[in-house]
Amino acid sequence: MPFIEPLPEDRIDQAGFGKLLKRSRDIQAPDELFVRILAHAPGYAKALHGAMHMAHAEGNVDHKLKEIIRVQLSRNAEDTYFTNLRSEKAKKEGLTEERIEAGCGDFENDPGFTDAEKWALRYAWLMYREPKKLNAEFYGEGKKHFSEAQIMELGGFIAIHYGMQVFMRTLRAFPMHDPEGNPISQEESEKTYGSSVGGRKK
């Protein structure tokens, strides 16, 4: 069980949480565990989940690309929760595990990614490893591929998701479902996904 226990649904009686929980069940990244943990501080839960959802599942940058970035970031954060979640929306749009692995690996030399996608993946890769490399020249290159609005969308998305991954990492949480979508306990989830974040167990 995470160090801060998720609230049972019948204790979440604040107005507006029905929408958050439904959205979590639909998208699954984050799943409702995150909402139920944050529900201890209801105002935070609504604001942060709303911002995370907008940054990840809405906007003008391809959701599948942002889903690869989200997994890449969560591995860097070493977070067992977010790294094992998968967006149902991205899966429905055709994103595969192979493509996620490619985006978390040697994407620079992968012909399956466009130059724009490589820039976005590099942006996330460098942000919390070598932020000094994200200089004017780097942003200049980004502007050849993305509008300033899209770059802000990507940057804000990277920042909020990485920040929440760092927080969740400390709570030792795991997804509420196995890779096939069946509900499982936290103990079973830890057994299924493992306590390291390198790859996704089948």
């Binding site: 160090f3 801060i4 226990e5 943990i37 944050l38 201890h40 501080a41 935070y44 942060l48 954060a77 070493e78 942000m127 919390y128 932020p131 994200l134 200089n135 004017a136 942003y139 940057g155 804000g156 990277i158 920042a159 909020i160 998701h161 990485y162 920040g163 929440m164 991954q165 760092v166 927080f167 969740m168 990492r169 400390t170 709570l171 030792r172």
Partner: protein, 137 residues
Amino acid sequence: MRSASAKRDGLTEEMIDEGIENFRESDKFTESEKIALEYSELMQFEPEKIDGAFYARLQELYSDEEIVELGAFIGFNVGYHTFFRTLDFYPMFSPDGHLVSQEESRRIYGDRPTSHLRGAMARATGEGESEIESGSE
């Protein structure tokens, strides 16, 4: 950048510096405040040290609601400060509250985060600036 609301509540630059540089040994912070500051420091630099025992210590001093508030606030800041750093922008106001250009703000605050008491205040007012520039900072 400083919260105007926190300043109105009495927060000083000396308290900010003490909370960053010396909170463990300081007698200016309560045990609750010290563990909150430690939570923040560890989450950014050594998250692997935030384990069950650490959360148990937090739970002796804070409710779960307060811990979630603190943890999410810290995580949000860890994420955003690095992003903002890459954009290379500076506060719109000097430490004494004057509207300044980005160039002037860069000159006042410098290109590394440091105490306002060791440079920015003096550069904003011009008082003692020659001593700073001559290497006494």
